[in-house]
């Protein structure tokens, strides 16, 4: 299966090698998407995650075709 992966803000800059799409066979959770996409860089505690545009915890499951995003705490407004 394939998962679309997106990084935003400082994470995008810190993950220049981060893959935007991964072959996700064997990947079951959001955290495992991070490991696969970043070649196993440790996910910092303050990283937030979303699946298909909804905030999700890092231990939530992922499915074929999902869009998974990683980003720092939000600072809008």
């Amino acid at each position: 299966m394939t998962i679309k992966v997106r990084f935003f803000a400082s994470l995008r800059e810190q993950q220049p090698e981060g893959l935007d799409q991964i072959e996700a066979d064997g990947v079951q959770t959001v955290a495992q998407v991070w490991e696969r996409a970043t070649a196993s860089a440790l996910m910092p505690d303050n990283v937030l995650c979303s699946v298909n545009l909804e905030h999700r915890d890092r231990d939530e499951p992922v499915s074929d075709g999902d869009e998974v995003a990683f980003f720092p705490p939000v600072t809008g407004g």
Partner: protein, 145 residues
């Protein structure tokens, strides 16, 4: 109910005038609004410019959710959120929230709720360019209460 993201500067007074003009005549008794503007200093440093990044698709959905949450909690007539994205200069508006209702308590409460909810939830990220040219990501929002 409306949300807008603007790549270029917007005029809060004009947006507010349109918002008020679009309401049914005579039913609105109270309109509360808030404008967040870019300052030329932050955390003790001079700031020359800012870039606001967002997550297209997710951000709009979150702003719509924030307005829906406000509608569930208060008896409001209409609500508006306008937010800048992209490159912003000091003095330019970043965000406008506005709520109209029959009575003022709901308008005040819901308008403030919109701001606090969008600041804590919506996927926007600020990157500042300081006076010397150095850039930095803003790490957290200031408290609203």
């Amino acid at each position: 109910m409306a949300i807008q993201l603007h790549e270029t500067p917007f005029d809060p007074a004009q947006q507010l005038a349109q918002f008020e003009a679009s309401q049914p005549a005579g039913s609105v008794g109270a309109t509360a609004s808030f404008v967040g503007t870019m300052r030329n200093h932050n955390e003790g440093d001079s700031v020359e410019a800012m870039t606001l990044e967002h997550y297209p698709g997710m951000t709009e959905k979150q702003l719509e959710d924030v307005i829906e949450d406000a509608r569930r909690q208060w008896d409001i007539i209409d609500a508006l959120i306008v937010h800048r994205v992209g490159d912003i200069l000091p003095g330019q508006p970043i965000v406008l929230t506005a709520v109209c209702s029959a009575h003022r308590a709901a308008a005040f409460d819901a308008c403030r709720f919109l701001m606090e909810a969008l600041k804590s939830r919506a996927t926007f990220w600020k990157k500042e360019t300081l006076a010397g040219g150095e850039t930095r990501w803003v790490e957290k929002n200031t408290p609203g209460h």
